[in-house]
Symmetry: C2
Subunit: 617 residues, 2 copies
């Protein structure tokens, strides 16, 4: 215990030095959790091979309170994997992996954090993987702040963790009483937290968060808990160890100046800078893995009408044997997204997440961290619920696939609350994301294959209504591609669209062809990365572009095309959802919004000054 | 009680008739809540003047489970404000106000719902208004489904309602056991819900949800509860009253066919179609309202550097007396967004929402429904947490103002988790939204004035760093406008930007001017609606446009400008955040991302083939 106390002092030393050297950061929020992490990591509980951060048997540690990053880095100084100089000179410096909030460029960061309330869900994913997929005895620890306990996403994680009996998951809450701007909702009332978390079916261990023996005992006891997760609820002092920081407001995101730092270090007493902590090594068991077998070929009757959401479900089920890493998560709507087809075929790799979209995304990220390929499905509209989680996931370089069904007004009668009309914009914002919007079942199946083949953050948009089969099974759909479905040398306009409105465009093409007017029809099944070269060619050859999409005008297909054609002096007109959507039949709504065949024809007549058009463009 | 039973049968009749006539909808989820709503609305509890839906003393009723819309409409048939024919012929028909999920085109819809888990937060806003602002005795009732109890947003609402002691708020949970695709997490285990909700400090009343006397008694008792909200937890049967629907899976979003409907109606027995229910009238008290006094004038030292986030806080505080309707909500970061300046000046009109961003948006919507003008502030990045709530709010035609601080990489050392880089894209997608991004304190103050003057859903993006004052206090900033800061007849390019990068653009202008090269500099402080006319003029006069923004490339300023110039054959190049952001100083990061003065100069040299440029564009 004396050694652990000295290690705690060492951590405090580096927390203070690093933040003062950087001139910013959160020393007080790091100091409060020093004993919690010292006990966990160096007290013989945590099992981790520091030379193999990706060892499948390593316990996992998530800093959900990412602003305590100085503590994370100090731990690894104490573990001998980072020098004190590297920390002091690197923390928060441009180009250093020791960023203000944990980033995955530091090898001991489990996952990028910093938007509060997300870590426990990621822990759920790691723990689900251990218990149900890899079947390994590693444990997942999540350090939470008390402020973030207000986030609904934490309660989603608490309930799902209990539902799945994740007794390999342990939360540690650093109840230091003070949030960013003052006292938290419950202050030091540990009982308020304990009552709530216990009601959610967790085993709760209240401790003095600065008593190493109490923390160690709670951690030991948590090892014995069966059937439910554990939460260590630690009463701590913000700024602990530095008299003029302790329990003081106004020291949240603020480093000490050099003189204050000197005083603070003096209060620590003698610190042994050469002391290093020992971490228990993990076992060496092999993860379970289902056998890999080739997938059967595609099989669609070319005359059938098949909704792309159904093709998505079919594809997952068809490819399940070829990709044993493939897992599916859905938020209580698998009979709409059609993830249920996979769930029936591979029940052990399907996770019902109930209505916890935010937690679902976090859990999927956690599964992805352990080598799984998670497909996260819900209504496209409801994925907006998890935008912050989706946004954060990009900073962990994830292999994560999103599928949003019921896109656009063409869902019909249910009305706008259920219509995904901003999903393309949302997923396009993500760095290096791939955004796919297939029109038929064949394209959907092929694109799901591409999503499995390629690593990264990808989004597939599917349609509620059954639509005709357009493509033969031999057709290839590379990421970053497009298909030209109709073209001639007389094309006067390029009609660029995707998904449900492609069929409206094809109908418009037919009507115009009858009149001897030719337009090019482009299926832009991949909105990002966009095939700028072929779009440019189509634009230059026709001299005029019209985009059509079942999405709001901003951030969707139209703007993607315009950005691709930014340097091409060809006008790009757009049709998109233009009126406040309402209930009605799909066709009524496509007409009402000005994105149906009729609207396309009217716009083209106007643009080309054809009879029946509205005059000058 | 016999009369209430007959009213319940009447409601069931119209639920079945309307959904069958429409061929879609959720009869089974409506049938389960019939007694709950009959008892509440016609049992002498609910006070409401049907001829004055906006009466300030009316009790409020939110259908958080919006898919039970047939029940909502049937209630108003039973109340005599809608005919049975109107319901049967109108439900889910194109152009009818009786949409698939409640829409505000129906006058008795309190708020548009349909994305689950949002109603209780809206109720929090209505109840906060009654208790702390209007100081009226009206009560707020929220009907919830059991599936949506999994949503974290519900738990955020539960904790905040308790924190504010909202004893005028009553939730009614229709625990019908079956979600969309099967059993809920807790099935009919009412105790599981009761334990959790009671731990959150609510008074819980478990009842048989088909026993009118039990429900009435619980509602009566909830009237006496002081200091905390109440939840009626009703054990119900999905499809209640129709033998072949009751407790059956597979009947979630499915209407009966005409033959099934005939059978179902037969099971109801005799229904008195002429029966009408009575609703108690409310009192007639006047809402409290602080006196309205003119705001003091602006006062900034033209030589000062003032962060726009601070100017936002100053503006709220300055305008607080002129707009007694102005209220502010912040999620535990008011000392960063600077909403704290208002909070100090008007503590009674500031609501600390802790880290419940989703609930904060719902509560603000609720406050807006009662005539307040809520400003909702957080880090721009963390507003993504509430995208679904923001998205849904647009369908209630709200008067709601969002303010996102810490926009862009220019926040510096804290790193990407704290950087708003997709907020412009998110807020641009909203129908008729206004998106503002001022560069200096004067513009910020004037735009906050505009936000107060004009009704609607608006977003203001603010900057962390202090920036110079650009404008004199006389300058006007109309919505939909822009400012041309530098122009000449020799301009070879229009540099269009806003916010922090405007200063980079001005520095680039100076450097080029030294070389005799002139560019036009445009402050696009309003991204939506965008001033297409003046952008077009600038594009045509210069022949070349370059946009610059501290935001990801998709959906932001660059794409807004391109869409405005879609028909103008002038190339529009863009600089936006191009690398994975990291920690560093603001200037390092602006350089790294290619949006600093240096990057602007390099790009302009390239585009104009100037010495030092990168060659052909």
């Amino acid at each position: 215990m004396a050694r652990l106390s000295k290690l705690a002092a060492l951590l405090r030393y580096y927390i203070l030095r690093a933040t003062t050297a950087a001139g910013s950061g959160h020393p007080s929020s790091s100091l409060s959790a020093v004993e919690l992490l010292t006990a966990l990591v160096f007290g013989g509980i945590f099992r981790y091979d520091p030379d193999r951060p990706q060892h499948p048997n390593n316990d996992r540690l998530i800093f959900s309170k990412g602003h305590a990053s100085p503590l994370l880095y100090a731990l690894w100084v104490a573990a001998g994997k980072l020098t004190g100089e590297e920390l002091i000179n690197g923390y928060r410096r441009f180009g250093s992996p020791l960023e203000g909030h944990p980033s995955v460029s530091f090898p001991y960061t489990e996952v990028a954090t910093g938007s509060l309330g997300q870590g426990l869900s990621i822990g759920v994913g790691l723990a689900l993987n251990a218990k149900y997929l890899d079947r390994l005895p590693y444990r997942t620890y999540v350090l939470l702040g008390d402020s973030e306990m207000a986030e609904g996403s934490v309660w989603e994680a608490l309930e799902i963790a209990r539902h799945y009996g994740l007794d390999n998951l342990v939360g540690l809450v650093d109840v230091n009483r003070l949030g960013q701007r003052g006292e938290t909702m419950f202050g030091h009332n540990l009982e308020a937290y304990a009552r709530r978390v216990a009601a959610f079916g967790w085993e709760v261990f209240p401790v003095d968060g600065h008593s190493l023996p109490e923390i160690l005992q709670a951690l030991q006891e948590s090892l014995k808990v069966k059937g439910c997760p554990s939460l260590i609820l630690a009463r701590t002092v913000k700024g602990k160890g530095v008299s003029f920081l302790e329990e003081r407001n106004g020291w949240h995101g603020r480093a000490l100046n050099p003189e204050e730092c000197r005083q603070a270090l003096a209060e620590l007493g003698e610190v042994d800078l050469n002391l290093r902590g020992e971490i228990r090594l993990p076992e060496d068991l092999t993860p379970e893995s289902p056998p890999r077998r080739p997938a059967p070929p595609l099989d669609y009757d070319p005359k059938a009408r098949v909704a792309t959401r159904r093709a998505f479900g079919n594809a997952l089920a068809r490819l399940g044997t070829q990709y044993p890493e493939l897992v599916s998560l859905d938020a209580e709507v698998s009979n709409s997204t059609m993830a249920e087809i996979f769930a029936r075929a591979f029940p052990e790799r399907f996770f019902e997440m109930y209505l916890t979209e935010q937690n679902m995304v976090g859990a999927a990220l956690g599964l992805g961290l352990r080598g799984k390929i998670p497909f996260v499905s819900s209504f496209a509209a409801f994925l907006t619920r998890a935008f912050d989680q989706i946004r954060m996931s990009q900073y962990s370089d994830p292999n994560l696939k999103f599928v949003g069904s019921h896109a656009g007004v063409s869902i019909g009668w249910d009305g706008p609350s259920q219509m995904g009309l901003e999903d393309l914009a949302m997923f396009r914002t993500l760095r290096n994301s791939v955004v796919l919007y297939p029109a038929d079942a064949v394209a959907t199946e092929r694109l799901v294959e591409e999503m499995l083949k390629h690593r990264g953050l990808m989004y597939l948009r599917t349609t509620r209504e059954a639509t005709p089969i357009l493509y033969s099974p031999e057709e290839k759909f590379p990421l970053g591609g497009l298909k030209i479905l109709r073209q001639s040398e007389r094309d006067r306009l390029a009609l660029v669209t995707a998904g449900i409105t492609l069929f409206e465009a094809l109908a418009a093409y037919e009507a115009l062809r009858q009149e001897g007017v030719f337009v090019r029809v482009v299926d832009l099944y991949c909105l990002k990365p966009v095939d700028a070269a072929n779009l440019t060619r189509a634009a230059r050859e026709t001299g005029l572009v019209l985009t059509v999409e079942d999405h709001y005008p901003e951030g969707g297909l139209g703007e993607a095309v315009r950005s691709a054609l930014a340097g091409v002096p060809v006008p790009v007109y757009s049709l998109a959802v233009s009126q406040k959507p309402k209930s009605g039949s799909p066709q009524e709504l496509l007409d009402f919004e000005g994105i149906s065949c009729r609207a396309i024809l009217a716009k083209i007549r106007e643009l080309l000054n054809l009879p029946g058009g509205g005059g000058e463009p």
